[in-house]
Amino acid sequence: MANEITAEEINKHDATLLKDIDDALANCMKCGNCQAGCPIYRETRKEFSVARGKISLMQAILSGKLEITKEFDSMMAQCLTCKTCAANCPCGVKADELILRGRHATIKARGLNPIKKTVFSLLSNRPLFNTVLRMGGMFGWLTFKDIPDKNAVLSRLPMPGMDPNRATAPLAATPLRSEFPPVIKVDNPKHKVAFFTGCTINFMYTDMGKAVIDVLTENGNEVILPGAQHCCGTPVHVSGAFELANEMAKHNIEVFERFECDYIVGACGSCVEALKDYPKWLADEPDWAARAQAIADKVREISQFLVETGYKTDNLGAINKTVTMHDPCHMVRGIHVTEQPREILKSIPGINFVEMKEHDRCCGSGGSFSLAHYELSRQINDRKCENIKATNADYVCASCPSCRMHITDGIVQNKMPQVVYHPIQLLAESYKLGKQK
């Protein structure tokens, strides 16, 4: 069987593949304004790196001028899903979503690429996924070398698909959800809050997860940790494997429906955005979309939750540090939460908050993008590090574990002194210090 299917054949086989976004693509007036913000274009300055180029390529597929090829696939892959193009498009074109449709079309035409296929099949099998990552954590010291004071590790052995010099997050010896009971009770709970941990916080940055639990209980909330919760599906969804991502969404909806809770809280911008977007993902299945909406209505990012429901500020201990903040893409352009983490940081006594230049510019991580395009994602990250350096901050805060990992790597590579935390970790620390007084 031929690997490549022509545009004609695609349209014959699946008339809806790109056809239904014909109008959405046509709305791009090709002004090129997206060049100004695109972090990838800024490094490569190649037309196919930027939204206008990708939209044009999709139009060429639609009109039969081009076929879906490996090259098309690799061009569609050059996107961090940082949404900067969409946020600044004068015509209101949601290029980020259209690019995902391009990736989806590639999968339909050519199938998933083999590496992703392996990773995704692991992801789709939750028990196996959990076991593999758990084992990885238990034997982590064998394969990884700790970098002191950074909560980061370097690989001792060559790892498939990973740059040997890359600093990454340690796999936790015990995942977060295994460290705690399914329900963490408090006296006279203000709210019942289910915690959607996400994979990175569960398996790697358990310190972030513990801080979330500490802060929630400190403020009188009962915390529910559904053990069967799974990956939010973002990595799969942004690869264009919509069908698989939707299955993961449905699993999570079923899991969270089982618990009576007032809120569902997450500490990762991308996970929270996914949970809020489930109704959109499942729009073709009205029953599921309705169930997804009921879940989505309860979803809050942790800082959003705290500012909305109130949090204690009378028992905070001082953290005498200079702190700057990076706005993760899916926080600022996905769920539009930028003020709340700042409000929390500024409420902590002793913190000298300094904004960095271009604080809302992508750090270059883009989830699995940084695995496939490490060098490019490092270049983008070096700009972020320069901006961090200029603030002379002690700590960098980012409400996203992927950003934390990638910025930490940048800081290690650039031999800088900063440490990266989730804002909520500083609040948890401040509560702790308050008690020591």
Binding site: D23, A26, N27, M29, K30, C31, G32, N33, Q35, A36, R45, K46, E47, F48, G53, S56, L57, A60, K65, L66, T69, E71, F72, M75, P90, C91, G92
Partner: protein, 461 residues
């Protein structure tokens, strides 16, 4: 010449990593920001220095292969569309600001630098590079030199040609020449700098420029005025100039633009107003205060229904939403957007706006007009759907009326976007046969094999 051989030759000159030739990559350089012009090149080459540009042109000239210099590809005249196939010469590796000479107020800049980056670079020294086209954050310097771009500050500060004082240019035969330089006064020989500025890549490939910088104005005063008739707005524009005030900016929005912006933005614009003027005077604080009063007086005399002064920079931004959002909002109406830039003498502004309104009505097309009232440079913006052939026919008829109307009023086809391919059909109307012949003679003298951006600006030659 065989395509494979061409690709191999290009790789020899610039190295493998700077040559693109996959079908997908070629398609990515088949268009620019102008609707309806898609042509496949044979190869995309990114030279890294002037010697490589020279070698490429020498080779292309010998083998009569078309070459299209390209920066960001954001122009609105199909100026970078590779009409006849051949080599797209991507100049973005020329990305350095080489020198800032504070004694002569000259910046030496390579053509791949984005215009906004020049401004960001000189701003800490209290200087500005005034040309500010709408694409200031994306356009490359080379693109703005080749198109001789203008912008909002054109009335007082002039356009690109007023700030380009010297160039490094590679000719079609590969010769590298230097024109002008750091001298404020320079009458030695033909003014080659001005010849290449605005030549749309048809006479040579610009690689570097000496740019004149000016001190940043110390103070500004901005205001917005609402008019119930076009005549009043037009008279206000003429009277302000007659009062010997040259505002940095004097922008106009017509009723169609006002209504479109209000529909999308809900910022409380007067949807029954015939026109809105946005004005800014700048300079020494004392002079600014004085000019502001005079402008207010003129506006009142010309029956401005409402005048609002900006109280702060934030307030100014708010007032200018209407102007800033005019194009985006119009563009949102329909898939395809033609932003034209026909220009008339300031005194003919009202007449010209009437011609545009009539064309929109006669051919049942949607046109919103905004633009630089102070210099008569209007942007009749036609929104349509390129996929609808019948509609496109009407659009072209409307364009024909607009361009003919502009030329009849003593105006010009293009104030700042260039001719390229889009306005080619009307060139003879404005310049006459003799004028076209003179331009073609220049083209043939500098590019006898017609390899540089062939078919543009003067058409077939």
């Amino acid at each position: 010449m065989e395509k494979d051989q061409l690709i191999a030759e290009m790789k020899k000159i610039v190295g493998e990593e700077n040559v693109l030739h996959s079908k997908e990559a070629l398609y990515s350089y088949s268009y620019d920001a102008t609707p309806g012009h898609v042509y496949m090149p044979d190869v995309v080459v990114s030279p890294g220095n002037v010697q490589e540009v020279s070698a490429i042109l020498k080779f292309a000239n010998e083998h009569k292969i078309p070459v299209y210099p390209r920066g960001s590809g954001t122009n609105l005249s199909a100026g970078t569309a590779p009409l006849k196939g051949g080599i797209v010469l991507l100049m973005l590796r020329f990305n350095k600001i080489l020198d800032l000479d504070l004694e002569n107020l000259i910046a030496e800049v390579e053509v791949g630098v984005v215009v906004q980056d020049i401004n960001d670079y000189v701003a800490p020294h209290g200087l500005i590079y005034p040309p500010d086209p709408g694409t200031v954050k994306t356009a490359s310097l080379g693109g703005t030199i080749n198109e001789n771009s203008g912008g909002l500050r054109g009335l007082k500060y002039g356009i690109t040609k007023n700030y380009v004082q010297g160039l490094e240019v590679v000719l079609a035969n590969g010769d590298i020449i230097h024109t002008g330089g750091k001298n404020v006064k320079d009458v030695s020989g033909y003014d080659m700098t001005k010849l290449f500025t605005g030549s749309e890549g048809t006479l040579g490939v610009v690689t570097k420029a000496y740019l004149k910088l000016v001190p940043k104005p110390e103070a500004q005063a901005s205001m917005i005025a609402v008019f119930n008739t076009l005549e009043d707005a037009g008279n206000a524009v003429s009277d302000i100039i007659a009062a010997k005030i040259i505002p940095a900016t004097m922008e106009i929005l017509d009723n169609a633009s006002i209504r479109t912006v209000e529909d999308f933005m809900h910022v409380g614009l007067p949807t029954d107003a015939a026109a809105i003027l946005l004005l800014e005077v700048d300079g020494h604080p004392v002079i600014v205060a004085d000019e502001k009063e005079k402008v207010l007086e003129v506006l009142k005399k010309n029956n401005a229904a409402e005048v609002t002064l900006a109280k702060s920079p934030e307030h100014k931004e708010q007032l200018w939403t209407a102007r800033r959002m005019a194009l985006p909002c119009l563009a949102k109406l329909r898939p395809t957007t033609f932003v034209e830039d026909a220009t008339v003498p300031r005194s003919k502004l009202t007449q010209f706006l009437r011609i545009v309104t009539k064309a929109a009505k006669d051919y049942n097309v949607t046109i919103g007009t905004f633009g630089h009232a102070g210099d008569g440079n209007m942007h009749p913006t036609i929104v349509c759907d390129l996929r609808d052939e019948e509609e496109m026919e009407r659009v072209h008829k409307a364009m024909d009326d607009i361009f003919r109307g502009a030329v009849e009023l003593g105006g010009t086809l293009s104030g700042e976007h260039g001719i390229g391919l889009g306005k080619l059909p009307w060139m003879e109307l404005q310049h006459g046969k003799e004028g076209m012949n003179a331009m073609k003679a220049i083209k043939r003298a500098l590019d006898p094999n017609l390899i540089l951006n062939p078919g543009k600006l003067i058409g077939e030659c």
